[in-house]
Subunit: 334 residues, 2 copies
């Protein structure tokens, strides 16, 4: 039976909040996702989509404030309240498109890490050439990592791939600048033996090209490198799309060809646009916490809500908890 | 007056050497680039394209041998001899598609670093959305770097952009996971003040998306991150091209549209394919040294030859030497 509880949505997180968030909430509701909007009810009055619940949280954290503001100075911030509702069991999952540093700080503080997890990573999925999905982590939660953190990310990402993507034996790769063992920087070389000692399908070092072709299902790296990789994918898609558009418009007699292929171009854009997921998941905390793009539009907000619900419905947290205990448990003493 | 000296080409470097290299040499000659082939003359007999000079160097370094092999065990290796010919003034520049670690080791050992340069980086150019070119370095010569190495890369890349791309005031960016000062990992945060203290147009932290859109002309990072970024660009182009092809072939009635747009798709592939340059340049050594892809085809080999000649013709080494002395000179004492 589907969980009847709603997904908490931070109404005041994002560059165009609350308008775009409310549009996204309406879209999510229309798609069958139960929504609980969290924010200043005075400012939301008359704007709440039919069917959405509302919880009052009057304070807002600005993008220029420190990540710790909701923990230290604004206890009634919407970006904090969504995770308290999740901790208390009122909602299935929590979504914000607000200050990502503050979101991670609140999720970790309020929900707490799962046993064996020192530093929860952000993860998302990237479409691969072979039609599969690549789980990429960390995307920027931890820019300076030790080898054992990469090992933890690997276990969390592997549990995600089994629970959410339903892969029976996800192949785990370590992002490096070459496939041979011994490639990589000092951090990666040290992490190799950590990953190799874990009881899962470790396929060794994987290069970005190989990962995008489908050589692994989970790709592990530190948050600085993962952020560069994800944003390079986004940037390259943007450049390639722009170049394609320029070339297609170069000659007026190409108009008919463009018209004939319009459907193909539309599907190409859909398949290579990254708001299909709508946000990154903070893995390794005790609850499903999704952090969306600050510049998310209504469609991306609704995608993030659906994504959060699918992770909750897949029993992600219980699966990750079990795997972390099994694979990281005996290693905690270090 | 154009330099009449040839470009030295390692005939036995690359996955399909010497056949593909010889085809590339013929192509380069046809395009007006004087070629000096370096390799075992017995094995080249009867295969040398008309107009190419040949120098004998009987030893070959395999891809599975240590990078130091041509320095320690095979002094007559073709991958070493090309740089000796360059050092002695017999050629304008040297090109190899062989073992890249061995190529860098030989170039550094034989040519020597320019004053002020501790660790020569590999650099290339990537097409930007605005039609410009992004100079990206280091691409993998130095996977573990100190902040002062990033500062040296910046000076070398800026000199390249002025000398070869003819930009009067290249904008230099530091690759990071956010634009605000204070973003980045520990290495990037420390490098920020180093770059900020140099007398050139430093624009601060730049994200991959911003760099690909045109926010800077030179993007600096360590060799691990730069390698990941370059290979992610290549991988994303490959995935996007594959998805586009799949969508275009999905319906048979799209055939006419594809035929009408064939020219546009061809130009799109040309503009987004990275063998337009054909290789990476080892910056900061005393000579123009180009390291091509091991899997380079004949066209890529010819591109690498033209690229090497254009760098030599632009007076790259003298420009880099002058800038390194001016901008790094007083800092050498550290």
């Amino acid at each position: 039976m589907a969980d009847p509880r709603p997904i908490a949505l931070d109404a005041f997180g994002g560059d165009k909040a609350p308008e775009v968030i409310l549009e996204g909430a309406a879209l999510a509701l229309a798609q069958g996702v139960p929504v609980l909007l969290v924010g200043d009810t005075d400012r939301l009055r008359g704007k709440v989509p039919r069917g959405a619940e509302v919880v009052h949280a009057p304070e807002v954290v600005g993008m220029d404030e420190p990540a710790t503001t909701p923990l230290r100075k604004k206890p009634n911030a919407s970006i904090r309240r969504i995770f308290e509702l999740l901790r208390d069991g009122s909602v299935q999952a929590a979504v914000t498109c607000g200050h990502s540093g503050a979101a991670m700080a609140c999720a970790l503080h309020v929900l707490g890490p799962l046993p064996g997890v020192d530093r929860p990573p952000l993860c998302t999925v990237v479409p691969r050439k072979d039609g599969g999905q690549l789980v990429l982590l960390d995307l920027g939660a931890n820019v300076d990592c030790k080898p054992q953190h990469l090992a933890q990310f690997a276990v969390l990402g592997e549990a995600y791939a089994r629970a959410v993507l339903k892969l029976p034996t996800p192949r785990v790769g370590l992002l490096a600048n070459g496939e041979e063992q011994g490639k990589g920087n000092a951090q990666v070389r040290a992490a190799f033996s950590e990953l190799d000692a874990i009881d899962f399908a470790f396929v060794g070092n994987v290069e970005p090209l190989g990962a995008l072709r489908g050589e692994c299902d989970v790709l592990v790296c530190d948050g600085f490198v993962g952020n560069v990789m994800l944003k390079t994918v986004e940037g390259t898609i943007e450049v390639a799309g722009h170049v394609l558009k320029e070339e297609l418009r170069r000659r007026p007699d190409a108009l008919l060809g463009r018209w004939l292929l319009a459907g193909a171009f539309r599907r190409f854009r859909q398949r290579t646009t990254y708001d299909s997921v709508g946000g990154a998941l903070l893995l390794g905390v005790d609850g499903v916490a999704v952090v969306g793009h600050g510049r998310a539009d209504a469609r991306a907000v609704a995608s993030a809500m659906r994504y959060a619900r699918s992770c909750a419905a897949a029993g992600l947290v219980a699966a990750v908890r079990a795997d972390a205990a099994r694979l990281l448990g005996p290693r905690n003493g270090r």
